[in-house]
Subunit: 321 residues, 2 copies
Amino acid sequence: MEIIEIPANKLNPKEFIRQQVEAISGTVGDGVAITALSGGVDSSAVTMLGHRALGEKLKAYFINNGLMRQDEPQAVVSLFKRLGVHVEVVDAREIFFKALKGIRDPEKKREAITQTFYKKVFGAIVKQSGARYLLQGTILTDVEETVAGVKRQHNVLQQLGIDPQKAFGYGVVEPLLQIRKDGVRKVAKALGLPESAYNRMPFPGPALAARVVGAVTPENIELVRKATAILEHELKRVKAFQCMAILHEDRFAGMREGKREFGQQIEVRCWKSVDARTAKPVWLAPAVLQRIARRMTTEVPGVVSVTYNIASKPPSTMEAV
Amino acid sequence: MEIIEIPANKLNPKEFIRQQVEAISGTVGDGVAITALSGGVDSSAVTMLGHRALGEKLKAYFINNGLMRQDEPQAVVSLFKRLGVHVEVVDAREIFFKALKGIRDPEKKREAITQTFYKKVFGAIVKQSGARYLLQGTILTDVEETVAGVKRQHNVLQQLGIDPQKAFGYGVVEPLLQIRKDGVRKVAKALGLPESAYNRMPFPGPALAARVVGAVTPENIELVRKATAILEHELKRVKAFQCMAILHEDRFAGMREGKREFGQQIEVRCWKSVDARTAKPVWLAPAVLQRIARRMTTEVPGVVSVTYNIASKPPSTMEAV
């Protein structure tokens, strides 16, 4: 149960890949395995490892839970097509929004997403595909934060006392358990993923549901999706560990065309970090902040206020909820 | 009813003071008038005008509504003592907190404060003092914003169709009605107020109640009071029209000593503006923002997140609620 860390500076990516490919082959054998590709660096690396180990016996799925960023499903599918991996998109939007309806507590949101993902959506896929294993990109930081009680990572099962074989009917293989984000980036690069993938900003498992304070609805996900698209466009050339737009639930006074408008606020966070354990804000230029604020207040309906995070982790966390 | 503006650049402070002193004397005659001094530049200027016109027949009160900043009552009393004006402090904390209990809507908060202030607290003072007039520092921007429906200013009565004589039993005299904040500063300087008073940042009528999202309690006022003291200390040397700390109601993930802490957020706003009609954020140095965030997350209990406003007015307003 104890996990021995391989620090990024001691990691030999080629050797690591060789070992993990061997381990996956050994575990899965002649059977079929599946992977849920989100487009993040962790699941992208795992998909490539699984593809090397199992070839066509690895089936890759992109679960469209309705909480993804703008154009994300299409972008992921076409990237992997170029790498020779077929990705099947599963439209699970309705089932996720139904499961999240009315849930305000962040931990309960994560729990609802975990349950919906592993039990309902993946349970069905496993049955259809005949797979006995799920390959997933849990990394060491996910495990530590879950065990420490800081944040429940949706992909940490064993450490929460969940036996996936018993609970969901399939085994889970986690090739990245000994490394952190910086190590995963090295492995992903060595696996031939393009820079846009291996240097991609982290994006949380609960996706845009983690970027909305309070209950998740298709409407507020659409607002935060717009804000996220604006932010990522404006910060394309900024070096940051992670940038995000968060839709607050609090309402704020505003005015448009001389009339009062009681509207919403978007908070922008842009983090400088090496391994996600600690982080500081990136100090963006005033002109950039001003442009982000102007675009968000004009292009995202109902938004009258925009803020920028200036606190560090700890005591903040990187994600808001 | 139509108010003719005197722009600051056409204002002759000495002549303006002479006219207003004459007008106050004419209106109040041999009677007694009272003024509610908050320590802001508007009410400070009005108090000095009233003192010049009426001498001892002007009675100045500082209403401690429990929503004031740290050490504010003492500071105002001792400043005016030096200027020869006796200020009486009225402890009205309990009555205001009672009136505000459970009220979440910002307009209703303002309404509750207006009613409590003019009717309950001032009504009693007027009766005791035998005064027939209240001198107050309503400025042109207050009237415009209230009439336009942007924000109800607590001190605008006639324009809301309230006849104070009928409603509260006393007349209201408003010597600053034709000028804006920049004009008031000139007048206040010419009246002999020190720079700390005539260049003092605007502070809203509802005081710290305007700096708390959601219902006002003695507890959350205490938190935002601490945050405000930190902010004003750290920004002492920064040139800004107005700076403020706002306590949000939304909760955010945080961590302290490795454990999850679901905590609160303080938003900092620091505005550059001439006349409050439009405003832009002041772009503070990263070191300043960092220090503010560090102090707020360590010195204000339960605060795990701090943001800085980056939007402009419009579509934001300067105050949050």
